[in-house]
């Protein structure tokens, strides 16, 4: 069985999805979904360990060898991203049981868990496949299920948010297919490794830059890089809490992974950065995202929306790291991918707890919550500290590498922007903290602490964000090795 692990990682959740839909009762469906998520988590750990010991895993789908068949190609980057996705899934699923039961009507429960499993398998599929068209298929599997899950939000604005996301997301996906088609017409292959080999010979042809552009636009739309982020704030704000926590920590991360994959593995750093001068595009956009979106976040009155804008800013950090095109820069991007998944997951889950107990996440409704819901708000503060980048949290580790990467290139103004960004994070996090801790709670309104089944998963992520901030040598060395793999140095 272990040799089929790469495909089972994706296939088990995929096949459990219709099972979850068919069992009908939401509790049973939850059990099926939980089994799928935890299986994926266990499998992704095994895969990562195997990749670290034995190097890249090649798996020929159905026994058809690459480049004719579809190849699953798992290197350190893929395994790491798959682990992030699966880990967040494994933590969110027990949380979802209570949260979703409250926010989504019972008769839709089974369908929800079915969509959840589809989304998970789609995201896992993107991270492990070595075939560019397969990427598109999995991207659509995950996106379509995500649209459906977002539309289940309580507020009717969830529907328009999902529709907007559907239009923009499908446009992005179509851009990606166009790019893939143009690559295929030039090279006659869809296999990533094969493409990487054949592309340099034809890279002078105008079709290749066009393909590159379509792919870049399509992927940056999916990862919500400013100014293509318009779908994100509404989608995150109105989706059910568990969905926001899951999607915010995985979907955009996987899109960042795709960016890395296409830039570095398929096109190669030399083409992307020297011929196409990608850094000239990405770096300014990333800087604007960091400053502009943090500023917008400060003025939000809905905390989920605030965190959503903060996510756009944080994506700016990842893209900024990548735009340096250096080992250190890419390392910081990959590290932040992991770190941000932990902290944003924790923050959105804390907001889910507030939603559960208070019924709203508007900032004025959170007065006095520091006393009434001490564990939830402590989790929020913990995640917030990480977002600010305080030492002993994962946010600090990301910043340490990112600033180092900027200084390495002599770009100290960029380093200063990173610091200003984290100070702006201080402002918007503290805005919530002040309301929760400095204003008295409304005595007429009986609010109780969220149930343990939600608090425990939230705190798992909070503690993880502290743990990997104190002992970052594992994640940092994985990220460094992954960056070296991508850039093809030090091997």
């Amino acid at each position: 069985m272990s040799q089929h692990l790469p495909v089972l990682l994706v296939a088990v959740p995929l096949f459990l999805a219709p099972v979850a839909a068919l069992v009908g009762r939401w509790k049973l469906a939850w059990a099926v979904a939980a089994a799928g998520c935890w299986w994926a988590f266990a499998a992704s750990i095994m895969l990562l360990r195997r990749v670290m010991d034995e190097g890249t895993i090649h798996y020929a789908m159905g026994g058809w060898e690459a480049p004719y068949g579809i190849e699953y190609r798992i290197d350190l980057v893929s395994a790491f991203v798959a682990l992030i996705v699966a880990a967040i899934g494994a933590v969110v699923i027990p949380y979802a049981r209570t949260s979703i039961a409250k926010e989504v009507s019972e008769d839709r429960g089974a369908l929800f868990y079915s969509a959840f499993l589809l989304c998970l398998s789609g995201l896992l599929g993107i991270s492990v496949t070595g075939d560019v068209f397969n990427v598109f298929v999995f991207l659509e599997v995950s996106s379509l299920s995500a649209y459906a899950m977002i539309a289940l939000g309580q507020d009717r604005r969830a529907l328009t948010a999902a529709f907007q996301y559907l239009i923009m997301g499908s446009t992005g996906a179509t851009f990606i297919v166009i790019g893939i088609g143009l690559l295929y017409v030039m090279t006659g292959t869809l296999n990533m490794a094969d493409l990487a080999e054949r592309l340099p010979a034809v890279s002078d042809n105008r079709t290749i830059p066009v393909a590159f552009t379509f792919l870049t636009v399509g992927i940056t739309l999916k990862l919500a890089l400013f100014p293509l982020h318009l779908w994100l704030p509404n989608a995150y704000t109105y989706a059910p809490s568990a969905v926001t926590a899951f999607i915010a920590s995985t979907a955009t991360k996987v899109a960042v992974y795709l960016l890395l994959r296409f830039f570095f593995t398929v096109f190669g750093a030399a083409f992307a950065f020297e011929q196409m001068q990608l850094d000239m595009v990405l770096m300014p956009l990333a800087l604007v995202a960091i400053l502009g979106m943090s500023l917008v976040a400060i003025y939000q009155e809905n905390v989920k929306r605030l965190l959503a804008f903060s996510s756009v800013a944080q994506i700016g950090y990842m893209v900024l790291g990548i735009s340096f095109g250096s080992v250190l820069g890419v390392t910081s991007g990959i590290l932040h991918l992991f770190n941000h998944a932990l902290m944003k997951g924790a923050l959105f889950m804390a907001m889910g707890c507030v939603m559960y107990s208070v019924g709203s996440v508007r900032i004025e409704k959170m007065a006095g919550l520091g006393k009434v819901m001490p564990w939830t708000m402590a989790a929020f503060v913990g995640g917030g500290l990480s977002l600010i980048g305080v030492p002993f949290t994962v946010g600090f580790v990301s910043k340490w590498y990112l600033v180092q990467a900027a200084l390495e290139q002599g770009m100290w103004p960029v380093a200063a922007v990173v610091m200003v960004g984290s100070l702006m994070a201080l402002v918007y996090i503290w805005k919530v903290v002040e309301v929760a801790y400095f204003q008295a709670a409304d005595p007429d309104h009986q609010i109780r602490e969220a149930p343990l089944s939600m608090l425990v998963p939230t705190w798992v992520l909070v503690l993880a964000s502290f743990y990997f901030g104190i002992d970052a040598s594992t994640t940092a060395s994985i990220a460094t090795r992954a960056a070296e793999t991508l850039l093809g140095v030090g091997l």
Partner: protein, 491 residues
């Protein structure tokens, strides 16, 4: 217990104390007794380290590697021991004082108060024992965050505003300047370990090193070099024991200690003396000394006056570091101890007046000396030490600082020191003199209802005041340690 573990134990003890405080939250007497006992034990163990330092040993404890090449580690050296001894001795004394103050003043949330108090001491000891810039920065930020609940203890609108200034200034300087300086150092020197003689010499041009020095000096917001001093007066909204320990001892001393440590072990005296930036910064410190004194002169609120006096005195220590010679460093290091004991006495007295007579304004304290003789006598002694007059310990550190200015040929700065002492003579001694010799204001209620502060507070005041006098006759401990620090080895 091995020496390394002993160091870790010293930092851990206050945390244990904090846990005990939480456990015993329903038994106030046991809670305070536990804090006192743990405080005494902490001091005892820190004192135990003195023996090793005298032998020329540098007890070290490597905790873990946070990111490759950067350790979380403790290493005790003479300068750090000075700070640790001061902080750990004054903690139980302040606890004693707080028992009288918090109960006499009917403060709420006393458990939270004692909890964060203990945690803050752990942070201060972590700063004192840090083996490298990373560890120092981590505990520095830790200290900022765990003192925030103390500063905003009253949770009023005023406390919230003060808390904003407090966090805003301390974090923006540390994140915006200090962290960049640290990462820059790491980039240039390839290490952040504190090393005898410095690590930066010869790694970059004088201009770059000067820029890093400026980032360090202003980045240590806790040293309150103008224009980054506003947080200190703002933080005076806190209960007086907090102002006493944190803003005369732990927090501000963590700041100046960082400046001294960076001067000695990152730049090294020799390198420092060659940089042009050192001179400019010395004058910035000189300006802070004078301006701080002048502003203090104008304050009628006693705590505000003490706060500005602290700002001025802190810059004495910064100046000592920037004189870049042995006299200056010895004087600066000794001033950490001398100023701590003197200023805490003044704050204790101010708090005692507040508890007993409910007066905050100096102009309304006339005549109070007759009803509270011990308090005002202690205030008198503390003032002498701050001004630098015998028979109080402060005269020694001022003497060495003066010698340092002569050695550096900075006669202008010597004048600055003298002038500031003259101002101090007026703005500090005014308080006890008027209290003893002036008639009370007509509408004051200094009648028979007022007596001295509660007994525990009074004992604490007497202890610190006597220590201040004792250090005039026996300054040897501090002098010996600082001599070891600059000579860099066994005596």
């Amino acid at each position: 217990m091995s020496v390394g573990l002993l160091v870790g134990f010293c930092v851990l003890l206050p945390v244990l104390g904090a846990v005990l405080v939480l456990v015993l939250r329903n038994y106030p007497n046991a809670r305070e007794a536990a804090t006192l006992l743990v405080g005494a034990a902490t001091f005892y163990h820190v004192l135990g380290l003195l023996h090793y330092i005298r032998e020329g040993a540098r007890p070290r404890l490597d905790l873990l590697e946070v990111v490759p090449g950067v350790q979380l580690a403790f290493e005790v050296e003479p300068l750090g021991l000075v700070f640790a001894l001061v902080a750990s001795f004054l903690w139980p004394v302040t606890t004693l004082y707080s028992i009288g103050y918090m109960r006499g003043h009917h403060e709420e949330n006393q458990t939270r108060f004692f909890f964060f108090f203990a945690i803050a001491i752990a942070g201060a000891l972590g700063v004192a024992f840090s083996a490298n810039l990373f560890t120092l920065f981590a505990f520095y930020e830790f200290l900022t965050f765990c003192t925030f609940p103390l500063v905003t203890h009253h949770q009023t609108e005023e406390a919230k505003k003060a808390g904003r200034i407090y966090l805003g200034i301390l974090l923006s300087t540390s994140v915006g300047f200090q962290l960049i300086a640290i990462i820059w150092t790491w980039q240039l020197a390839g290490t952040v370990e504190f090393t005898e003689g410095g690590i930066l010499a010869g790694t970059a041009s004088a201009g770059v090193l000067g820029a890093i020095l400026i980032l360090f000096v202003f980045g240590v917001g806790k040293a309150a070099v103008m224009p980054f001093h506003r947080w200190l007066p703002a933080a005076m909204v806190a209960p007086t024991p907090v102002s006493a320990l944190l803003h005369a001892v732990a927090v501000v001393k963590a700041g100046v200690f960082t400046v001294l440590k960076v001067s000695l072990y990152v730049f090294g005296i020799d390198l420092l003396a060659t940089l042009a930036a050192t001179d400019w910064l010395a004058w910035a410190a000189g300006a802070t000394i004078i301006l701080g004194s002048l502003v203090a002169f104008k304050q009628d609120n006693l705590k505000a006056r003490l706060a500005y006096s602290t700002i001025s005195q802190l810059s004495y220590i910064v100046l000592g570091a920037l004189l870049a010679n042995e006299w200056g460093i010895i004087g600066g290091g000794m001033h950490i101890a001398m100023h701590a004991f003197g200023k805490i006495t003044l704050f204790f007295a101010a708090g005692a007046i507040m508890v007993a007579a409910h007066e905050k304004k100096i102009s309304r304290m006339h005549g109070l000396g007759r009803t509270m003789p011990i308090t005002f006598a202690a205030f008198f002694v503390g003032s002498l030490s701050i001004i630098g007059l015998p028979p109080a310990g402060g005269s020694w550190s001022k003497w060495f600082l003066g010698m340092g200015t002569l050695e550096a040929g900075q006669y202008g700065l010597l004048v600055v020191l003298m002038l500031s002492s003259l101002l101090g003579l007026y703005y500090l001694l005014e308080v006890p003199v008027k209290a003893f010799f002036f008639a009370p204001p007509d509408d004051a209620h200094h009648g028979p209802g007022i007596k001295e502060a509660p007994l525990p507070s009074l004992i604490a005041i007497v202890i610190t005041a006597s220590a201040t006098v004792a250090f005039f006759f026996w300054p040897d401990l501090w002098h010996e340690l600082m001599t070891l620090a600059v000579s860099g080895g066994a005596s």
